[in-house]
Amino acid sequence: MSSTTALAGARPRKNHLLSVVAILVSIVVFVVPFAFIVLTAVKDRQQASLLDFSWPHQFQFVQNFVAVVEARDYMLIIAFINSTILTVASVAGMVVLAAMAAFVLQRKASRWNGLVHFLVLSGLIIPPAVVPTIWVLQRLGLFRTMPGLILVEIAFGLSFCILLFRAFVATIPRELDEAAIIDGAGPIRLFFKVIFPLLRSVIVTVVVVQSVVVFNDFVNPLYFLPGDKNATVQLTLYNFSSQFTTQYNLLFMNILLITIPPLVMFLFFNRQIVAGMTAGAVKG
């Protein structure tokens, strides 16, 4: 901290030319595409079909919003409900299962540890085998069902969560466990009453990062939960894209709507997202 203030003291002048260039470039490269989404989403159909970057002749926000929501029997509403169920259930499952596994993995030295580490890393690297997974789900009677997709999301997300939790459990002193045990806590009480509450900050990180991942997931719903009845928001958007080729205003209204949940997450949990996504950076 003192070194940075010293540096700032040595160089109080900010580089204004570089700043202006950076800001201009960032506007062209990153802001314009988002502005394009918003502008096109509020245009009327005719102007939207020009695909140009221009100010709307008339603002049709409400009209386009209603049209998108009503399209195909309120498909978007159903999709939002489905996506919410999927996200909440699978992230909750990931947090509990991964925290339990990570806790034992960090605390207990056993001959399983090597295998568990290997499996965790495999889960990060290996691309899931699609059709065999469908085959297993079918045998279990879970193919094309929401519980099946939730379990798949949990299985694919576990590795990342376990890594984050394990690193954090290592910072909780073992004396705490011992004190709880002396007070007569069993394994379940120890974990859920003592350890789990202490994991709060890393749980927030995991929840935020994985919510964004699961909410934005397109591939797994595409394979494991096909069909209009169960469509998630990403699938709905994809299906709309072939249907709305002449109604770009509605297509972009749809894009705008599904961008809002990640935006809200970003505004409120910026710090946790950064912490979660850079977890591996310093340690490598």
């Binding site: 202006v20 207990k108 690297i125 085998a129 065999p132 379990l151």
Partner: protein
Amino acid sequence: MATTSIHTPAKTRTTVAGPDRGRLRSPYSTWFYLPAAIVYGVLFAIPTFASFYFSLTRWSIFESKFIGFGNFVTFFQEPALVKGFTNTLIYAVVTSGTKVVLGLLLAVLLTSQIVARGYLRSVVFFPVLVSTIGVGLTFTVLMNPERGLINSALSVIGIDGPGWLTDPKYALLSVAAVDVWKGVGLATLIYIAGIVSIPGEYLEAAKVDGASAWQSFRRIILPLARPATVTVIILSLIGGLRSFDLIWAMTRGGPGFTSDVIASVIYKQYQAGFYGLSTAGNVVLFVVVTAIVLPLSRFLNRKEVEL
């Protein structure tokens, strides 16, 4: 006599400590693994192992017939599928390399003394969180050859932009560019974390010794940000080799099959009902990912230790 008298208390101590330690260890009971192990085992490990068998079969979802390496022969003979294989490698290398270079440059810029740093960091990172399908569809419109914003802007300065997604020469690289646009924020973030963790004294000392900005970048930031470089390379390679949704949203592998990658081949063969061939694609992808990522991460991490 003396030895036994020493041994006996030692023995009794261990027998007393034995159950005691057992009770101390029991809170970390192995069954805590069980729920995670079941979900992971049934829905990830078993399918992965099963894929090795099913890739050797002609398979409809009801019955599978063993045909040896026929699927793999098909995979490496059919031009469309070979194209998917080479495209996967090109796509992964291009996106990963670009993310490393751009991510590092942006991170240096965003850790320097600059106005509106918070805004710049946010705006570079935000696309990471946005739906891939949404980004893909948006850029498909922006890259429209006649009316798209990119070509309209280029025509203002007198350049006749190509059909980014409709010209077979550019389709794959255009998608890769959008992938970089969406993913460079994560690389930047990882680099920022790496650069911030470099002790300020090093840069100060270099400055006192009269090092130029380039020298302190080359001799201090670059070597000390190495763990970040390793992370960015490995993460973006894994992501690039497996990527599917962006390509599917933008070109569906087209025009023709010129921008197909292994993951889109897997989906196409699955849709067509060739489950064995699709699973063979999965196995090829598995081999490619492990054959590239494992040795590379070992190599990169070893050099880090030497440093």
